[in-house]
């Protein structure tokens, strides 16, 4: 066990303005950045606002930016930094700030509402669902998401372009569309809802230029780009840009076979 004094810069302020404040604080063996923030609260800055909850990387509350990189405070060990390094903590920079490290993540909840929910298949009651493991593997990967919104924060489409927030759902919710489109029993199509077309038309899939930052920051190691976004792009191509598929669907419709 050894402790040392580390230098921190923490952004403090609110919507009116603010700036980086310097702190010197004790660090002990095995601690994570959230421990240090708690120590600051308990000893130097009792009103330092921060969101956190489980402190075990399962709830996705303590998202912030450490040395400019979107991360979970509770899953960033102090040992990854040099002892003489000044560690900078700021709130997420893609969302409006409320106070100190707390931002208004309402954007994400709004986008969540815009994705039509799972449509249960007609004629199957509770207890009658049969799904094979290989068919649920894909959507299960996406359901590991802890909604920390780090991917939403890092995605340059909205981070660097506030005006795109209206048209773009962000990686988390495009992944949600993919999850539902890959759900083995989702009956959206039967109700006339084409999730592939809406991914592009309503959730802004075309804005994604697959630069993979969402995948890089994901604390759950979900392969958002390769397994959700690109497959959705390909599915959109099926619907809109593939003459073979288009021709095939015409013929099939004519023969009535399916």
């Amino acid at each position: 066990m050894s402790s040392y004094e580390a230098r921190f810069q923490v952004w403090r302020g609110d919507a009116e303005g603010g700036g980086l404040e310097d702190f010197r604080v004790e660090v002990n063996d095995g601690e994570v950045v959230l421990d240090i923030v708690h120590r600051l609260q308990a000893t130097q800055a009792p009103d330092l606002a921060v969101r956190w909850n489980c402190k075990a990387g399962k709830c996705g509350s303590c998202s912030a930016e450490i040395n400019g990189r979107p991360r979970l405070l509770c899953m960033t060990r102090m040992s990854v930094f040099g002892r003489d390094e000044t560690i900078t903590i700021t709130p997420l920079r893609a969302f409006p700030v409320i106070r100190d490290l707390v931002t208004d993540v309402g954007f994400n909840y709004q986008k969540a509402r815009e994705v039509p929910a799972f449509v249960p298949p007609a004629g199957l009651g509770p207890g009658e669902y049969r799904m094979m493991q290989e068919d649920v593997d894909r959507p299960q990967e996406f359901r590991k998401c802890i909604e920390c919104f780090l991917c939403q924060d890092t995605c340059h489409v909205v981070r660097d372009h506030e005006e795109n927030k209206k048209a773009f759902a962000g990686p988390r919710f495009l992944m949600r569309v993919a999850e539902l489109d890959m759900h083995p029993l989702d009956a959206a199509a039967e109700t006339g809802l084409d999730r592939r077309a809406t991914a592009q038309d309503e959730h802004g899939l075309g804005y994604c230029n697959i630069t993979k930052c969402c995948t890089e920051v994901c604390p759950e190691d979900i392969k958002i780009t390769d397994n959700a976004l690109i497959p959705m792009k390909e599915r959109a191509v099926d619907r809109k840009y593939d003459p073979l598929v288009w021709l095939g669907s015409k013929i099939r419709r004519r023969t009535g076979a399916n």
Binding site: V32, R99, A117, F118, Q140
Partner: protein, 669 residues
């Protein structure tokens, strides 16, 4: 002062974990306009921490499983102190609650024939836990959250407003349940238990703004109390808010002495001490060893379980593949037994370097299988402790995990006793789990009784439609003044606030740092009312709690009301102190060891205590000044004899087994 924003709702649900969301869904589907209030962001509730699974006798993996077997396991696990009707309803309804989740989009792991897969767990006779890897709680929360969104989308199509019938007030804290027909002596049950629920008083964490939700029915689903203990698997939200709200509203708490210490929490590094290591590690083959390399659990099988558990390592190992002809390994004993055994090993000097014991899967399964079946455990140890669980054992020790005690409720309706319109479900409600909860029974409890609470709250609200209870300005003002207290102690935000808070409450002494008080409280509860309890220590704890109570009134905060964590903690302290006193008093009173209550000075289970419930209520009018006398506590304890177990349910057990639990006169009735 009374410019506090007020809104009318039919049902208000406090808490947005599994029970709260399930209650809200039910209430909304029954036509009640429903508001949910939660301290965190929507979808972050402590339920996400649940790993192992949801216990439900669906018989997908072992066809012999039935609700009766599940009921039996639950009663055994709870050492027959369970409110048996709850255990019965729970076992009967759990499968429907799980299946219903699938129709809302949940994706559980599957069996070969495409059904929901079920896994083994401590205390369950058959593989019974529906699961998703080791992140079942997350799946549950996300499914319920998405169902709420689905209902809101429905409402949007009908009314043009997502929140017209179901609204989530996130990052808001309720500080008082409001009641009709009461004057300024808030929180005091008037004679005869009249005084209907009329709403809640809350503040928005972001702005510090106060508001009142008026409603004839309130469901409390706030979870547990673990943050009163130092080593805990619980998150910051678990400050016993619901327990305290109910107490203050005049509803009694039941059997608060029973606190479950999960046997396997992380012990190193210090900053993660207490974080849970899921029981599935043992369910899937992990074993416990002491520093001599011995599988010590074989030495700790209690008499009541002797016939059910393997006597040799060989037999235990065979059980994983052939459960019908072998008995299960003792690592899968109920949690209280395992926690005590670990505690004893460490005390006897056979612990691991950081004061735990070894939990090993690395020698039991190929690395590939471990990574697939226990992905978040692999991740958790890799990231937080730099331990590769596929190559080396984990170090684990007991951690405060769950409170079996809670608000005393009616088994069928989840209605809190003595306060019309108040309901409770989930961990905050007592009775269901008796003296010890089985793993996996928590998530099913949330769903079964969450739904029941929502259902009956909605019905109660509908019945009160023509005669809605009133919210008095006096109550609202008093609640606001109470909430502003910490500012006056600490210097205050504005002169107006100070005045509103009653000009400093007239309590002498320097302001106290709420963080320091919280740390002292946690240390006290951990050391003196922890896993092994002694009379003297608990008396000492009560003294310390009285001292802390006095100092807590001087807990002061700096800054202003906008997202001020110091202020939030100062307010939560009231709840933690009340609840801690309940735990300590009840634990002192119960002179036996049973389930989650272990007395060193009364080490055995006493059949005479089997049918005794301990009820905590507020001692006397909550007159803040009179209460300054630390010698007198705020909690009065009463004993109550439980209702006899229904004969057809008793008949599910062998006589020889019942003899070990039930008193003579209960057996021959």
């Amino acid at each position: 002062m009374s410019v506090v924003d007020r809104q009318e709702w039919d049902v208000v649900v406090v808490g947005a974990g599994g029970a709260g969301l399930r209650a809200a869904i039910e209430a909304r589907e029954r036509g009640a306009r429903t508001a949910v209030i939660c301290k965190s962001l929507f979808g972050k509730a402590h339920t996400v921490m649940a790993e192992g699974g949801i216990a439900a006798a669906m018989a997908n993996v072992n066809e012999h499983d039935t609700w009766q077997v599940h009921f039996r396991d639950t009663m055994r696990g709870g050492k027959f102190l369970n409110q048996w009707r709850m255990a019965e309803l729970h076992a009967q309804e759990a499968p429907d609650r799980v299946w219903e989740l699938e129709t809302w989009g949940a994706l559980f792991d599957r069996t070969k024939d495409g059904k929901i897969s079920q896994r083994n767990f401590g205390g369950h006779e058959y593989p019974r836990l529906a699961h998703v890897g080791d992140r079942t709680g997350l799946e549950l929360i996300r499914t319920l959250q998405q169902k709420i969104v689905a209902l809101q989308q429905e409402d949007y199509r009908a009314t043009g407003d997502y929140e017209s019938r179901l609204k989530v007030f996130q990052e808001c804290t309720v500080t008082r349940i409001l009641k009709d027909g009461e004057r300024s002596e808030m929180g005091v049950p008037p004679a005869g238990g009249r005084g209907r629920v009329s709403g809640v008083f809350a503040y928005e964490r972001e702005t510090g703004r106060f508001f009142v939700l008026k409603a004839p029915a309130v469901v409390i689903a706030t979870g547990g109390i673990g943050k009163s203990f130092k080593v805990t698997s619980n998150s910051w939200e678990y400050t016993g808010d619901g327990h305290a709200l109910a107490l203050l509203a005049g509803a009694p708490l039941l059997n608060m002495e029973f606190v479950q210490f999960h046997p396997t929490g992380m012990v190193w590094p210090p900053s993660v001490k207490g974080i849970l290591v899921t029981e599935s590690v043992r369910g899937d083959g992990g074993v416990l060893r002491n520093s001599d390399g011995k599988r010590f659990m074989f030495d700790y099988i209690p008499d009541v379980f002797k016939e059910k558990y393997a006597e040799s390592e060989e037999e235990g190992d065979r059980w994983y593949d052939d459960p019908d002809r072998n008995r299960r390994p003792p690592e899968l004993l109920p949690r209280d037994e395992v926690a005590r055994a670990i505690n004893a090993e460490v005390k006897a000097g056979r612990g691991s370097p950081h004061g735990g014991v070894f939990l090993d899967v690395s020698t039991r399964m190929p690395a590939e299988v471990i990574r697939r079946r226990l992905p978040s455990m692999y991740h958790q140890f890799k990231e937080l402790a730099d331990v590769d669980i596929t190559a080396e054992p984990m170090e684990v020790g007991p951690t405060c995990h769950y409170v079996m005690g809670g608000i005393a409720v009616d088994s069928d309706t989840a209605a809190a006793r003595g306060v019309p319109g108040l309901y409770a479900a989930g961990e905050v409600a007592g009775g269901m789990h008796g003296s010890n909860r089985l793993g996996g029974n928590s998530l099913s409890d949330l769903l079964v009784f969450g739904r029941r609470a929502g259902l009956h709250a909605a019905e109660h609200a509908a019945a009160s439609a023509d005669d809605r209870p009133r919210v008095s300005d006096e109550q609202v003002d008093a609640a606001a003044a109470e909430a502003l207290g910490p500012f006056s102690a600490g210097g205050g935000e504005t002169a107006g606030d100070r005045e509103a808070a009653g000009g400093g409450q007239g309590v002498g002494g320097p302001p106290e740092n709420p963080y320091t008080l919280h740390q002292e409280l946690q240390q006290t509860m951990n050391d003196l009312v922890g896993i092994i309890r002694r009379e003297q220590e608990m008396e000492q704890a009560l003294k310390k709690l009285a001292e802390l109570r006095g100092r807590a009134r001087r807990a002061g905060v700096e800054g202003h009301r906008q997202f001020n964590p110091g202020w939030h903690l100062a307010l939560d302290l009231r709840n933690m102190l009340l609840v801690s006193e309940c735990v300590a008093r009840a634990a002192l009173e119960r002179t036996e060891s049973r389930g989650g209550h272990t007395r060193e000075d009364h080490p055995t289970m006493d059949r005479a205590w089997r049918n005794v419930n301990l009820l905590c209520a507020l001692a006397r009018p909550a007159d803040e000044l009179a209460e300054a006398d630390p010698a007198r506590g705020r909690i009065a304890l009463t004993r109550e004899t439980t209702e006899p177990i229904r004969p057809d349910l008793l008949a599910l057990f062998e006589k020889e087994e019942l003899v070990k639990y039930l008193a003579e006169e209960e057996l021959y009735e």
